[in-house]
Structure formats: C-alpha cells, structure tokens
Amino acid sequence: MNRWKRLAPVTAVVASAAMVLAGCGGSGDDEAADNSKLTVWMMGEGSEAQTAFLDGVEAEFKKKHPDTDVVVQYIPWLEAPKKFQAALAGGEGPDVTELGNTETQGWAAQEALADVTAKFAAWPEGKDILPDLVRNAQLDGKQYGVPWYAGVRALYYRTDWFAEAGVKPPTNWDELVAAAKAVQAKKPGTYGIALPGNSELPFYSFLWGAGGEIAIQQGDTWKSGYTSPQAQQAVKFWTDLVTVHKVAPPAAAGWNEIDARTQFATGKAAMAFAGSWQAGAIKKDNPEIEKVWGTFPIPGPDGKPAPAFAGGSDVALWQDSKKQDLAWDYLTVLLSKQKDKEFASSLGFFPVYSDLVGGGEYANDKIMAAFATSLQNTRLTPLTPKWVEVSRTKTVTQAMNSSVIKGQKTVEQATADAAAEMESILNAK
C-alpha cells in the first residue's frame, strides 16, 4: 500500500501546518509547553460532584507537578467508541482516559492503550485491588488498565407493593416468580419484573447461578457453554418470565437495562435489574421512589445469591501520549485508596480495594447492602479481545434470549445457534 503510505506525510504536513496556524494565537511557549498540560478523558456527562472531586485530584497532583494543568474532558458513554477511533486514526488523543472495563481488552488489542505492567507492579497500593478486576484489564498477560471503581447489578423492588401483596424479597428462583406473580395480581396494570430482554449482563447472573458457563478456553480453542443443560435451564427460566409466567410483557424482548429501569422508576414494574450507580438516575425519574424502594441480590436457583458480573471502570494511559510518566503520576493520585473511596461513595459505586469493600461498611445501607453482598461473589465474561464482538457487535446472548421470547426459536435451537456463532467468532483467526 505504498501510495497510501506516501500520502501519510502529506496529511501530516497539512495537519501540522493547521496546528501551527491554530497555535499562532496561543501563548507561544513551545518546548517547555510539553508538560504544561495533561489531557484526561472521563466518561459520562460530568456531574457537579464528579467535577468537584476531580478538582481535588488535580490539587493533589499539583503538589508534585505544580506546572502542569490538568484538562478534563467528559465524553458520553455511547460516544466513546467513536471518539476513541477518531483519536486513534488522527493521532491526537488524551494522556489518561477512563473506559468501561468490558472495553479495555478490545482497545488494548487496537493498540490504543499503553502497557503499564511494570508501572503497576511497582505500585504498592495496586496489590490490594480486587484480583478479578485486575485480570479483566489484561491482554496476553500484560496490564493495560487499572481498575478505578466497581459495580454489580442487583434487583430493586417496591417495598410498599411487596408489603401489600404479603411477599418478602425472594431468595431463590421459585420465590422470584411467586413474588412477581403476587405483586402483579395485586397491582393490575403493572409488571412483576422489568426484564431487560435485550441486555446480557443481568442474564449472566442466572447463567452462573444455574452453574452454566459462557465459554471456556481449552488450549487454543474456546468452547461455548450454552449447550449445557445448566445454561439451557437459565435461558428457559429467563424467557419463561415473559412467555410462561407473563410477569413481563413481550415488548421486554427489546428492552435494554435503561428501558427496564425506567419501567421501575415510573411505577410500572415491581422489580428491575440495575446497578448501584443507577440509583441516582431512578431517583431523578421519580424522586418519591426513595421512600418505597429496597434492593436484594439476584437470587440463584437454590437460595444462595447468584454470582454477579464485576462491572465498573478502568483508567488507562493512552499509547500515543508522550507523557507516560506524568500520566501515571496522575493515575496514582486519582486511584489512591483515599481518593477512590471518596469518589466511589459519591457516585454509588464501590472502591476497587478489597480492604475497603469488605467489613461491615455497607451493611446498614438499605440500597448498598445488597450490592456489597453481590460484590463478594463476582465473575467475568471471557477474557479475550474477541469477546467484544460477541457481546457488542453480534450481540449473541441478547439475540438468543430475544429470539426465544419472541417465539422464533425453542430454547434448544437458540442455545445451539448461539453457541455455534460464539465459537466461530472466538476461534476466528
């Protein structure tokens, strides 16, 4: 591709000319300017609390680097993949970035993120970070991101409706169905449970709870666990909620977690799957709900809480950044135990340090207690950069569940098709 390559310098010249022109109006200190600015990308819309917190982090960071200004840019979650691609293609990116922990491996494979294995190993506080989260930010044994905060999903429920129907928070699958039916009977026009039929993460709790697996690596090849009786049992239970028990509507086949959460917030459903960090959004939809809500861990079939997916955010260094050491210094301030605890509690997430999430810290919080319980037993989706294609592009699991809910396939057909598709993606050369 020589012709295209030869054009690259031309583009570079044009781009740099543009930058020189743009820079003319600026301060003009070129060489020393190198460390005068550190660009940090944060996900989301940037609440006031988050901005105040990051100002505090910058103040702390400036004690060591008084001449560096930290510029924080907020990027909406859904925009992030496009923004990352553009930054990577154009060569102008941040120095430090936050990213969802399901995406770290994918971006590491795209060579967007810097390898921080050595830096991470030499950082004492890092040794206390929950090991599942640390592994989730690795690719081929190298560390490409550092966990920042953690979150798990649980079930929110209406305490007032449950009391009216005379049911208690369920602890196994049968009780879950019974409670949903009882409340729905008592409250006509509502759904027993807002099932996000088009989301995968809440479903995995049922899969793992039943003893199923998403996929297992055997040597060089991945084998999907969806054809196992346990996985089929989980798919059957999940889809039966709509098709047999009718405690969620057929439209739920297309609902994502936000759609489902909104049903709960607006008083149309008695239960909904959501993360602890979504409490704020639910309250925003319906401030009154705070008086009548509670949470409980997603139950397993047998009475024990089901394992939950260890979600959350990582912080990574951008591979193209010329200020790796400076960026790492910022990262260690941002992720220090003290700052992490401060930040996580203001957002409704959990800190990533095992010594901070254990203990009785959250036992008396009516919302956070269930999440703290779930956080004791977390699992991960398959650790391969190809997983993102299964999960995001081909949406294999979501399509499997939706097709059963819509009545297009039987559980056996759907699980067999999904397993075959998953294996063909994960084992592609």
Binding site: L88, Q110, A251, T395
Partner: protein, 328 residues
C-alpha cells in the same frame, strides 16, 4: 431552463473573432473547476478510498493512520461476505424493502400530486404545506417521534389499539390488551413500521415533482380526452403518464437510490445495530466497519457491493426508459 438553452446560441449568433470565441468556450469549464474540485475532494476521493480499502484486511485503527501495513487480500473481503449465509438475509431484506418502498412512495406521491393539481388554490396551498412539513422534518427527529408513537406503554398507537372495543380487537387480532405489545419484535412488523416512516418521509418530494410536471401539461389535452369519453384512469395512463414519463423515470431512479440506502430511520427504530435479523446493506456495512472490533475492509466491501447493485439497478432502469422513448 431558458438560460441554459440560450447559452450555446449566444456566441454563435454574435460575430466574434475566432480567438475570442475559444476563450469564451473555455470559460464554462473554468467556472466548473471550483465545483469539480470540491466534488473531487469530498466525493470522488473518499469513494476511491472506500474501493481501495475493500481490497485490504483492515482491522486496526492504526492502519488508517499509516502506522501499520495494509495486508492485501484481493477479493478476500468480497468472498467472505458473499459466502456468508447472513448476506443473503441482508440482501433479501434490502431488495424487498426497496421494492416495496419505491412502489408505495411513487403511488402515494403521484396520487397526492394529482390531488394537488385538482384542488383550488387555497386548499392546494394548505395541503401542500402539510405535505411539505413531513418532508422538511429531519429524518432523525421524525423517526424518534414515530418510535414514540409505537411505544409499548404510552405510545399513541398502543393507546388507539387499546381503545378498540375488546370484542372487535379479539376477533381481529386475538388480543384485547395492547399494553406491553412488542411492536418491533417480529421482522415483518419492524419492516412495516419502517416502511410507514420512510414512505411518510419521501412521498412529499414525489408529490411536488409530479405536480410540477402536471402544471406543464396543457389542460386542453385532458379536456379533449374527457370529451372523448375517457375516465380518469384512462386519462392518466393515456395522457398524463406518457407525457410525464421522463419525470417518473427520474423519480423512480432517485427513490430507488434513497430506499436502497435507508440508514437513519432504521438505526433509530431498531435502537442501534443490535437487531441483526432486520439488517439491510447500509446498516450492515456500518456495523461491520465501526462496531468494535472494527473491520474497515469488510465494511468498505459491503459499501462497494451496495453501490454496484445501485448502479446496475438504476442503469437497467434508465436504459429501459430511454428505449421506451425511442420506441414511442
């Protein structure tokens, strides 16, 4: 139109030295240059890029930057797509959807155009403004509103179906309670709603164009036909349609192009790139190219296939129209 037809006559009509005439001849091309340059940079160059990219294996953003090699795969991307059974689903969706939409848009647009031509001045202005509003609504906003209409709990359509008498609703559809009904659950329902949205968006242009054509048909022809005892159906097919054949030809070609590459409406109604059974070529290309992990080469190849199909379809159609004109 008049200036265009007069332009070539002016230099010939005037007595000018040969030298000057040549300079005048060059002027139109000089005036076209800026336009050509813009089209070249914004259209032809990216088009060339897409075609070039479709011959390489591109799955890393850094390749676009020139940091990494571009491994040549020849027709490998095309072989992969054409060999994938999923491509047949996508192609079938695209062709059926485009055929249905072109037909419906043309029929509805022509009928509204004929209606506008018959209406009095005030009523015509009123109807035309209403129709133009649909056209003026940006595809994105319009589709979001349509999606709300079909919302499963608080949408107007759900409400209307709930308002039907239970007995009637049960007899017709086998259900009385429509709250929570998944309007977008089956591909057929999804495509029906998508067709509604796309036709709603595109028929006003057809209507206005047909109206413009009708205004140029001398009314004596219609009167004469009617005096001879021809009904409206016959008048349309014997008088209006043959006279407006070039207009219809262009409108069909344009509609075909638009309906083959519908993207915005589908992306919004389906809520992104998750609903694969309803994929059509343009969203398929987008999803392959830009959903992580990116596959720019595959996405480019799909885009080229879409372009080729469009060229063939419109080429055949244009030939057919031209041939009919020769025969006529």
């Amino acid at each position: 139109m008049t200036t265009l037809t007069q332009a070539p006559e002016t230099p010939a009509a005037r007595e000018t030295p040969a030298r000057r005439r040549r300079r005048v001849d060059r002027l139109p091309y000089l005036l076209l240059l800026p336009c050509l340059a813009i089209i070249g940079v914004l259209l032809l160059w990216p088009l060339g890029q897409v075609v070039a990219m479709s011959f390489f294996r591109l799955d890393n953003v850094r390749q676009l930057r020139g940091d990494r090699d571009w491994p040549w795969v020849g027709l490998g991307n095309y072989a992969e797509i054409l060999g994938d059974p999923f491509f047949r689903t996508v192609l079938r969706n695209t062709v059926l959807f485009a055929a249905a939409n072109v037909a419906l848009t043309m029929i509805l647009g022509t009928l509204v155009g004929l209606l506008l031509n018959r209406l009095g001045k005030r009523m015509a202005t009123f109807v035309a403004s209403c129709v133009m509003l649909a056209w003026a609504t940006p595809a994105l906003t319009g589709t979001i509103v349509w999606k709300w209409l079909f919302d499963d709990t608080s949408g107007l359509v759900t409400w209307l179906f709930n308002a039907l008498p239970d007995g009637l609703s049960n007899a017709l559809f086998g259900r009385a309670d429509w709250t929570g009904y998944g309007w977008f659950n089956s591909p057929l329902m999804f495509f029906s709603i998508l067709t509604l949205v796309v036709v709603w968006h595109s028929f006003p242009f057809i209507a206005v164009s047909v109206l413009a054509g009708l205004k140029s048909v001398p009314s004596e022809l219609h009167e004469a036909a009617r005096v001879d005892g021809a009904g409206p159906w016959k008048v349309f097919w014997k008088i209006t349609f043959p006279l407006l054949r070039p207009v219809f030809g262009i409108l069909v070609v344009l509609s075909t192009i638009w309906d083959f590459k519908v993207f915005t409406q589908q992306f919004v109604l389906a809520g992104g790139t998750q609903d694969r059974p309803t994929f059509m070529l343009s969203i398929y290309s987008y999803a392959e190219a830009f959903s992580p992990p990116p596959k720019y080469g595959l996405g480019a190849a799909i885009a080229v296939i879409l372009t080729l199909i469009l060229l063939v379809v419109t080429g055949l159609y244009v030939r057919m129209v031209l041939k009919q004109e020769e025969d006529a």
